[in-house]
Symmetry: C2
């Protein structure tokens, strides 16, 4: 009995990432949202998050494609924890394509306008414990 | 720069579990909280959560001792995701003691009274993806 609304939001957000429509992507985030760019590097707020996605797109030479595999959504009141097998395909437009597979943790919040938005975007899941914690 | 209040709450909650003071333990949970008893089995609300802890204590013959190792807290507005290496020691009062090591995910919420409370208690972390999702 999963929250279909959140599942569809994540699919639509992935689609925005894959199209590099970062303006549309920001609609999925809360104003207070935090994104784990990589273990040890966090960014906060829509402006910083959009810049991080632009840098990530550049880093992967505009070849990044994200999709979700198996997903588990734990909903409690206005909060939901999403655990998802996130697959990142990189370099599909070249011969050197490869994919990365992560067990991600996302936290969603149902805000005052009743829409669910991502408040914590941590695609590294529990891997964060493997590195020192520090914030940009 | 971790949220020390949440870290201390988790330590105090572990202490309540280890003393089997489940009345005190319930103070750490939101009214809407959900607990993953085991993958595929969720319980909701303080009454069900307390009963689950009583059953867990019974199951481990009142020998369960919980402590946290390395912890990472991602805070965003009134929401926080805790990723923690949770160590469960079982059977310390017998010769057959052993310990279980889990990378847990807990979600905390700062409620209207400004206190942080656990809203999603998932000590299994991303392991939830390994089993079918079903709710009691």
């Amino acid at each position: 009995m999963q929250n279909q609304e959140i599942k569809q939001l994540i699919e639509a957000a992935d689609d925005a990432i894959n199209r590099e429509d970062f303006e549309a992507l920001m609609e999925f985030y809360s104003d207070d949202a935090v994104l784990v760019v990589k273990p040890g590097l966090l960014v906060r707020g829509k402006e910083q998050i959009r810049k991080a996605f632009e840098a990530i797109a550049e880093y992967f030479n505009h070849s990044l494609a994200v999709e979700q595999g198996k997903m588990c959504i734990l909903e409690a009141g206005d909060t939901a924890l999403v655990i998802s097998n996130t697959v990142l395909n990189v370099g599909q437009r070249t011969d050197a394509s490869y994919s990365m597979d992560r067990n991600a943790t996302y936290v969603f919040k149902r805000e005052e306008d009743k829409h669910w938005r991502c408040i914590i975007d941590n695609s590294y899941g529990v891997e964060l414990l493997d590195v020192e914690d520090k914030e940009k």
